[in-house]
């Protein structure tokens, strides 16, 4: 797939639903990405075993964090457009905690907090440092690996799919967690402090509770949208909007276009909404090309993100 095809596809991938609400799908050539099954399981890495120390406060409680992750995925499967009945039968199933830290194409979908930079966690001289494969082995953020790039990246999702149909086979989420000790201040180069706290004050120190910094539910809800085949949305109200200020929690709840997207793509009792295959050359989202550009242009005049009613408890 050439980048040119990708670009052409994304330009055509904004779909104006029947309601006129726009959402954007991730595409590969002419094919939109989608899960072929309605029951997609995911595992949550047990970071209490694998090392991330500062997720949601100083007390390690993987089960509590797992619940927050589940709430994030559930936001999509429980989507109910305003004034309508339940409209999707997509199920994103929490399969529990795992000690696995493996990403990539292995038919195991995981959410994993990397526990710190590989340069700190992998033993010096380990061949994985040279081959940039330490991440899965030591559950670390490999700042020298091309799939991690550097420590400024907060989260990554890797999706494996059929080049012909766009059907997703595997998806994994990696979050770049902090491993610095308490009281050292918030990290700037060794991962990020993920919080599960309420909305409100922004945390000022690592391990602080009752505050928000890089909100787990905000981040994972956004990432879960990608996990099921949605791309960034230029509407500032969308969970898929590509900006997340520190302390942001507005993406915990879906906007109307996000709900419409999951309802259209994974409708109850019907096949997933596909866009064609790369062998057939069928077009994708042909009604939406002007939609995405128009929205982006409008966005230029926005300047600021409007608060979304009901997004913060």
């Amino acid at each position: 797939m050439s980048p040119g095809l990708w670009r052409a596809a994304i330009a055509a991938a904004a779909v104006l639903a029947v309601s006129g609400v726009a959402y954007v799908r991730t595409t590969a050539g002419n094919a939109c990405l989608y899960w072929g099954t309605r029951q997609v399981s995911y595992l949550v890495n047990d970071f209490s075993v694998n090392g991330a120390q500062e997720v949601c406060g100083p007390t390690i409680d993987a089960a509590a964090v797992q619940a927050v992750v589940q709430a994030s995925f559930d936001a999509w499967t429980a989507a109910v457009p305003d004034g309508q009945a339940s409209c999707t039968d997509l199920q994103l199933l929490n399969a529990g905690l795992t000690t696995s830290t493996h990403t990539g194409y292995d038919h195991q979908n995981i959410v994993v907090w990397r526990a710190g930079p590989c340069t700190s966690l992998a033993p010096a001289g380990d061949p994985c440092l040279a081959s940039h494969t330490c991440g899965d082995t030591y559950n670390c953020w490999d700042t020298s690996a091309p799939n991690h790039g550097d420590s400024k990246i907060i989260a990554l999702t890797t999706v494996t799919y059929s080049t012909r149909t766009g059907q997703i086979f595997d998806a994994d989420m990696e979050l770049n967690a902090a491993n610095a000790p308490l009281g050292t201040g918030l990290p700037t180069s060794a991962g990020f402090y993920f919080t599960c706290g309420p909305t409100g004050n922004v945390c000022t120190t690592l391990g602080q509770t009752a505050c928000v910094y890089m909100d787990v539910q905000n981040t994972v809800t956004h990432e879960a949208g990608h996990f099921i085949g949605f791309a960034h949305n230029p509407d500032p109200l969308s969970t898929m909007y590509p900006t997340a200020p520190i302390g942001d929690t507005s993406k915990r709840l879906l906007a109307v276009e996000d709900k419409q997207g999951v309802c259209d793509v994974y409708p109850i009792g019907k096949p997933p909404l596909t866009c064609g295959t790369n062998s057939s050359g069928c077009g994708c989202g042909t009604t939406g090309a002007e939609g995405v550009l128009g929205l982006a242009a409008v966005l230029l005049a926005f300047g600021r993100r409007r608060p979304r009613a009901g997004t913060t408890p």
Partner: protein, 169 residues
């Protein structure tokens, strides 16, 4: 600073994806890179990694000018993702290339003449009609301040990009 980000989104041509990044400047990237080059993409080849789970694409770039650091006339850049047969893999925020594309790359040396792009898509600018444009549609930015006098990774004249890369200690 939502307005510039919105502009980036409008200009971004790559498929949307799922990485989240803190704000970063051209100067910061340049300081951290082993080399910054301007060149042209010659060819690409995707293949499975040894672990059998990840796909990487190897991009051959002919270097026309070295703006910072050192690099040979021809380099290989390893980027995550690609397509091998009927399997495709996208590691979000990864830079994408096309044959014949003119680019400015912020590079970190892996071994020999093989490099990676520093900061994933942040470290690749497409050069066209005197303009250098990063393709950042796959990166979600957090909000944050940048050092005074520095410029965020965003579209700018290629001459300015060169000045910022060469002019920083």
């Amino acid at each position: 600073m939502r307005l510039p980000l919105a502009l980036l989104m409008l200009l971004a041509a790559g498929p949307a994806a799922a990485a989240v990044a803190a704000p970063v400047t051209v100067e910061n990237l340049a300081r951290e890179a082993d080399a910054v080059v301007r060149g042209k993409v010659q060819r690409r080849e995707s293949r499975w990694a040894q672990d059998g789970r990840h796909i990487f694409t190897f991009v051959t770039v002919r270097v026309g000018a070295v703006w910072r650091g050192a690099a040979p006339e021809r380099i290989t850049v390893r980027v995550p993702g690609g397509e091998v047969g009927e399997i495709g893999q996208r590691t979000d925020a990864a830079p994408e290339f096309e044959d014949g594309e003119e680019v400015v790359l912020f590079l970190v040396r892996e071994d020999g003449d093989t490099f990676r792009v520093h900061g994933l898509a942040l470290g690749k600018f497409k050069v066209q009609k005197g303009e250098a444009r990063p393709v950042l549609g796959s990166i979600t930015f957090t909000k944050g301040l940048i050092p005074e006098g520095e410029r965020r990774v965003e579209t700018m004249p290629v001459d300015e990009l060169e000045w910022r890369v060469k002019g920083r200690p």
